[in-house]
């Protein structure tokens, strides 16, 4: 079993063969699924914890503070301690809550997150499922989460939760449109919906540079709409601490709250990963047309590292939004979508079609 940090295709293939030699094909599938499931679970838990820690430190940097410093070196264990605390906390349910739905909601949110993360290409050959309609799948699956939020808000039997859930519903339904349309722009440019194909298409230059103006516009719109879809930053109306105390998860405690919390951060990761894959070349290294030596140095950095550097960069940008801007109001959030993002997006698609037709790109 060769281990190549630049190309995982061979490795995964060999593993598959190794399993096949020892057990029946059906058994192999089950074992492989289990391994992949465990891997993703671990990844989500660990990366979620890392993101929470990163958010705290980044926010502290913005606010000229230090952030957590007490637990572990530089507070590295802080989020783990918090997670343990949440695990041990009592699960409180409002007396008149809809019990079944109340318990179901966090799982729906988590499941949606899991499903979306499945198709993301982390590196060459390091992708669980490579659908032909990968992008379509992600946009479809990521909007399931809102059902969880709506259920959570409704079943809590709390007026604040209900307002938060309704806001979230209106917001995510509208912004889903912008996310999809900005991705459609890039699909037109890439000519494929397959995520590995899109990454492969950016071998010589990232789509953000390749598609210049329309790609840039699509990127900005994707970032805004993506932030809105994760209920973060200036679009955190569903939680809106100063208005609705905690919005849709007011009544949740303990590990159920942790699910919502984790899902929010993993959703942020998904948005960042999609932005990376579609606009910033996925796991492809940074290449400049004719700078051979520079390109060569860049090639040395493993794709997995490239992927996470880009993802973290986008996540930092999203955090930057959150720690700078005031929150929008619910009608303004819809105005922004329907009066600004949507028309610009439609025009942008036309522009992109023109660019593709005239081959006016790198």
């Amino acid at each position: 079993m060769g281990f190549n940090i630049y190309d995982f295709t061979e490795m995964t293939h060999n593993m598959h063969l190794w399993f096949l030699e020892r057990m029946s094909p059906a058994m192999t599938t089950v074992v492989e699924w289990t391994i992949i499931g465990v891997c993703y679970l671990l990844f989500i838990a660990l990366f979620g914890l890392f993101l929470v820690y990163a958010e705290r430190k980044v926010c502290a940097a913005f606010q000229q503070r230090l952030g957590p410093t007490r637990v572990g070196y530089w507070g590295l264990l802080q989020t783990i301690a918090d997670f343990l605390k949440l695990l041990m906390k009592e699960l409180i349910m409002p007396k008149s809550a809809d019990k079944f739905l109340y318990n179901l909601a966090p799982f729906i949110v988590m499941i949606a997150t899991f499903m979306a993360i499945a198709v993301l290409p982390f590196g060459k050959g390091l992708q669980t499922m490579d659908f032909d309609i990968g992008i379509f799948y992600v946009t479809a699956v990521s909007s399931i989460g809102v059902i969880g939020i709506l259920i959570a808000g409704w079943s809590s039997n709390n007026k604040y939760s209900l307002i938060g859930a309704m806001r979230s519903g209106a917001q995510i339904l509208s912004y889903e449109l912008s996310v999809s349309l900005s991705l459609v722009t890039m699909i037109i440019f890439a000519g494929t919906m397959q995520l590995s194909g899109i990454v492969e298409g950016q071998r010589d230059a990232w789509f953000l540079f390749k598609g210049h103006i329309p790609a840039l516009i699509a990127f900005v719109i994707f970032l805004i709409a993506g932030t809105a879809e994760t209920n973060r930053g200036p679009f955190d109306l569903a939680e809106a601490e100063s208005e609705l105390t905690a919005g849709f998860h007011t009544e949740y405690s303990g590990i159920k709250f942790a699910f919502f919390f984790l899902a929010e951060y993993i959703n942020m990761f998904i948005v960042a990963a999609m932005a990376t894959t579609v606009f910033l070349g996925g796991w492809m290294p940074l290449h400049f047309g004719s700078l051979e030596s520079f390109n060569h140095v860049m090639d040395f950095i493993p794709p997995l590292v490239w992927f996470f550097i880009k993802v973290c960069g986008v996540i930092f940008l999203i955090m930057w939004f959150k720690w700078t801007f005031p929150r929008l109001r619910v009608d303004q959030i819809l105005t922004l979508e329907w009066k600004y993002l949507l028309p610009i997006n439609l025009i942008n698609i036309l522009l992109m079609c023109l660019v593709v037709l005239t081959k006016f790109h790198l």
């Binding site: 940097a61 000229q64 503070r65 230090l66 930057w320 600004y340």
Partner: protein
């Protein structure tokens, strides 16, 4: 046509203001990290309160275990919260006269609002404000303090 210009104008103006805001916050992230918070229990050694800081009422004693309090009770009168109680006793002075003196200067820290009125009113300057601010204790009764140390007496030359 004007409407279109206006439409894009508002977008550009809006984006510009957003970027200005991001510039301000970004400035603090990307300039060398100057944090403004203090790491409190760690900096105990270097943490120095201002001289006038009102942390608690204390009664300074000199090396002979002498204080300046005559037990006149003016501080007790001036305290708005009743956090000072003076228990006085009668002592016979050297020349045979009976004289009132302080037995216990009781100070209820839990009731004190640190208004400085007792210190200001004290005619002999026997009580002052101390700078210690770490008053947390496990038992409320520990907040009641006797300010004059046991066995202490009034310093020579303090006028009634």
């Amino acid at each position: 046509m004007n409407a279109i210009f206006e439409y894009f104008g508002t977008i550009f103006k809006g984006v510009k203001t957003l970027l200005t805001g991001m510039k301000i916050t970004g400035k603090y992230v990307f300039t060398p990290w100057k944090h403004v918070t203090q790491q409190y229990p760690e900096n105990r050694e270097t943490l120095k309160m201002f001289d006038r800081y009102r942390g608690e009422v204390i009664m300074p004693h000199n090396e002979n275990n002498e204080h300046l309090c005559t037990g006149c009770g003016i501080c007790e009168l001036n305290c708005p919260n009743g956090s000072i109680e003076i228990i006085s006793k009668m002592v016979v002075s050297e020349d045979g006269k009976k004289k009132r003196a302080i037995d216990q200067h009781i100070y209820h820290l839990g009731m004190c609002t640190f208004c400085n009125l007792c210190v200001k009113a004290c005619p002999t300057g026997a009580i002052v404000m101390g700078q210690n601010f770490e008053h947390a204790v496990w038992d409320r009764s520990k907040l009641t303090k006797v300010l004059n140390q046991p066995g202490s007496k009034i310093a020579q030359g303090v006028k009634e």
